[in-house]
Symmetry: C2
Subunit: 208 residues, 2 copies
């Protein structure tokens, strides 16, 4: 934020953070711009070689349409990096004293959006914590629950760390494909996994 040429921020981002931009940086509030305009703006600024920070509120990849912005950049061949922050999904209930799971009370979370015309009560993506050691059984259980064995799936081992490894396979073959991975690992199942190939960013040059 302190180094960028352009800061494009959501209305809900804290003003203290926006104020950290350089005095000569171009600061753009995203309000009033439609999603297509934001996508186009980011791609255009990136193509011009400017150092752009896009500060998003909420959770960029959970109803935050961050995937659409990333896709626009990837398609425009603009290098980018996703820097995860403190997600409202994790932070808001935690700060309000509500654990989303609790032993003997709740063993899972369904995350939905109120913006659709009808609340889609069936969540499309499945995330499994601590599922590597039991992966064969987890995949069988999900298939028994109705997921197609051909659903795209991924295991992310040591996510965000320098030795992160990602294996992508159909759900029915995932356990075999991931057998050499090490915990900790997160399992993601759903059509969103297929976006990964398209979302690969051109390499960012080393900072500095």
């Amino acid at each position: 934020v302190r180094d960028c040429d352009v800061l494009v921020h959501d209305r809900l981002v804290s003003p203290e953070l926006v104020a950290e931009a350089r005095p000569d940086a171009l600061v753009l509030a995203r309000d009033g711009l439609g999603q297509d305009a934001v996508n186009g703006l980011l791609a255009e600024l990136g193509r011009e070689g400017l150092e752009v920070v896009r500060l998003k509120g909420g959770d960029p990849f959970v109803f935050g349409r961050g995937g659409e912005e990333a896709l626009a950049l990837a398609e425009a061949d603009v290098p980018f990096e996703v820097v995860p922050g403190v997600s409202s999904l994790a932070a808001v209930p935690a700060a309000a004293g509500i654990p989303l799971t609790h032993r003997g009370v709740s063993a899972g979370v369904r995350v939905l959006s109120g913006t659709a015309a009808e609340t889609p009560v069936d969540a499309g993506t499945v995330v499994v914590f601590m599922g590597l050691r039991t992966l064969t059984r987890v995949c069988e259980d999900l298939i028994a629950d109705g997921l197609d064995p051909s659903t795209p799936a991924a295991v992310i081992s040591r996510g965000t760390l320098p030795d992160e490894e990602v294996v992508v396979a159909e759900l029915g073959r995932l356990a075999e494909a991931a057998e050499d991975l090490e915990p900790p690992a997160l399992v993601v199942v759903g059509e969103v996994v297929a976006l990964r190939e398209r979302l690969r960013a051109p390499a960012l040059e080393a900072a500095g």
Copy 2:
């Protein structure tokens, strides 16, 4: 972390962060301690008036058993504060290039754990993003999907901000109870909401 007397950390927390503790701080790796022992240890250290930081990996309140630790502190009358960080649920897929929702691809996320003897495919807690303006319909849809109208539910308006407001009501009465709240708001539905009363921490004195 830099100020605490005792740092109790998970194995998966980054060593760089643990290294920020004062040279004379007591640093305890949690490995090898059962959950009950951790709960008891935190309560005991707190009762002695020590400044304790408990650094958790993953997501403390999504399969992280943070609720159990907070409950032990509340029951021991030990003041505490929950400081949300970067959750693995948000960060790991994002950094791996997988958006958990994406327009036209997935409109929701189910978060499960692989540790149970059988994967509980029905998530117990429901979180709704951007559900305040459509709250009446969202609640009706969830009840039509099988949730009991008496299920504990909460709307958290402007979560984590100084003017945060939380309304708790049964699902069937939530829309009426929350009608004066302002967006942005997160809706949480499930028995975990009832834990909130028990998780209220005794007031922390102002830092310094």
